[in-house]
Amino acid sequence: MALRDVKPTRSELINLKRKIKLSERGYNILKMKRDGLILEFFKVLDEARTTRGALEEKYGKAVGMIALSNTIEGTLALKSAALSVKEIPTIQLKSKNIMGVVVPEISSSKVKKGLLERGYGLLGTTSVMDETATSYEDLVEAIIRSAEIETTMKKLLDEIESTKRRVNALEFKVIPELTEARDFIKMRLDEMEREELFRLKKIKARTKG
């Protein structure tokens, strides 16, 4: 706000004082929100680190198992068994609120199947296929868990970033400018008061003389 645009009136001063009070209150609340979000973020970060580690481990295992399956059974047998899978895993997406941030809550169904629910028979397949299927089911579950945690983490990071920007804007731009304008109006009003006093004194002296 440029000072030349400020009208040095008492009502403007009252208005500015109200704005400053509101900005300071907003600043304090946003600072508390930012700190709260950072705390939440660190909690989620720990969880994300664990789930990412688990995801990498399960991915490595699944890749190893498919290589083993291809080596022992061959891709043709594996593809043929894979064709028997009828039920496709599904995910349900809900949302929850962490300090005003809407984050996803993902739940899955039909991912982990028992040996007898996979659709292939036991007499035409071997255990290496079971192990491969299990490792891929574990991987899909880890991906779904990771997706929830990492999306939460990203959303929290975005919110922390925007809150930080608002806090900084209030701290270094809005409040100083409003304070400066208030001081300016105060100074101008004092100046006008002094001029008025001086004028009155002059008139009084002239009428006496």
Partner: protein, 355 residues
């Protein structure tokens, strides 16, 4: 099945198979291949009898996929040739033995149709190494629905099982019960057909019982490791030395030690007892080690087959030994190329080779 009179047909066929066996890749060659890089192995395979299939398929497949499909095509062609040179009597027996490939192909077609796959994609996973040859299977995969596939298979030996189980499979969306029933019928038929009228038939019956036992043990181990509960009676094949009831009872034993104790007490094969004893000491039954037990059981079965083929040089055994040897060659070449591609250690690949 018509019985074979005299030894002449056996001498003729077994001699032909002995010559064919000489052409298979020897053990030292596999060990040499393990030391080679992947491009070197592929070049070596291209210089062998697989060249024709590799050339034929090179426009549709690339890399290791090309090698694997070419190996499977070669296997299918070889088995078709085996059936072609077989005299009456032995041919029926061999057809029955190879029917497991038909089961695999029919199941792949049905599953592919249920998933709505185009015929070309289904064709990629077929290995027509059984009684149902490539032309016949090509005709079946053009059928639009599983019901039409069923109609086309009316003359197939296992049609009654298929007709009985397919509606249930279509309703439940799972082909597992159909698959199990087809394999059970396959073993039932082959047990029925084996025996009288074929040289070495009595011993072959024993061998089949061993195979059923091994298959049942593998199923039993898988059910235990995966904690399968409920009705397990349908997963076991009747006809082995264990009755289905005995296997169900074994499945119900909860303690691992009691399970191994009762299993080994009932086993008649000393080889099986010592093999299971080794695994019991090592790890017991754990999800990661189950395929090692399965590989060891399969190896044991193959070594028995080889031994019987040496004991009965002019019987059904050399023929079956050739059929299995050829399959092993394909399995070994595939294991080496796939294992090398996946970067598996040489020792690990070696463990999966059947030599």
């Amino acid at each position: 099945m018509s019985a074979i009179v005299g030894s002449a047909p056996y001498i003729y066929v077994c001699t032909r198979f002995r010559v064919r066996r000489m052409k298979l890749i020897p053990q030292e060659e596999y060990l040499r291949m393990l030391q080679m890089s992947l491009p070197e192995i592929i070049r070596l395979i291209q210089e062998t009898e697989y060249k024709r299939e590799i050339d034929e398929l090179s426009h549709s497949f690339h890399g290791i996929d090309l090698i694997e499909v070419a190996l499977s095509w070669n296997l299918a062609k070889t088995y078709q040739k085996v059936l072609a040179i077989m005299p009456e009597g032995l041919r029926e027996m061999t057809e029955s033995y190879l029917r497991r490939w038909d089961i695999q192909n029919v199941l792949s077609i049905l599953r592919g149709k249920a998933q709505g796959l185009p015929p070309g994609k289904i064709k990629e996973v077929l290995i027509p190494a059984g009684e149902l040859n490539r032309d016949y299977l090509d005709k079946i995969i053009t059928c639009a629905e599983p019901e039409k596939v069923l109609e086309s298979l009316k003359r197939w030996r296992l049609f009654p099982v298929l007709a009985r189980e397919l509606p249930r499979a279509a309703e439940s969306g799972s082909f597992s019960s159909l698959e199990n029933e087809l394999y059970k019928q396959f073993y039932h038929d082959i047990l029925e057909e084996t025996g009288a009228g074929i040289k070495g038939g009595k011993e072959f019956l024993e061998f089949l019982r061993l195979e059923i036992d091994i298959r049942n043990l593998q199923t039993l181990f898988r059910l235990r490791v995966n904690g399968a509960k409920g009705e397990v009676v349908t997963f076991f094949i009747p006809g082995g030395t264990f009755t289905v009831e005995e296997l169900v009872r074994l499945h119900e034993v909860s303690s691992p030690d009691a399970f191994f104790d009762s299993l080994t007490a009932q086993l008649k094969s000393r080889e099986l007892v010592s093999l299971l004893g080794r695994f019991r000491q090592k790890n017991g039954l754990a999800p990661g080690t189950l395929h090692e037990i399965e590989s060891a059981l399969t190896l044991m079965q193959y070594s028995r087959l080889e031994m019987m083929a040496r004991f009965h040089p002019f019987s059904i055994w050399p023929i079956l030994a050739y059929i299995e040897r050829k399959k092993q060659e394909i399995t070994n070449l595939r294991a080496i190329t796939r294992g090398k591609q996946a970067g598996l250690p040489m020792e690990q690949i070696r463990n999966y080779l059947v030599m």
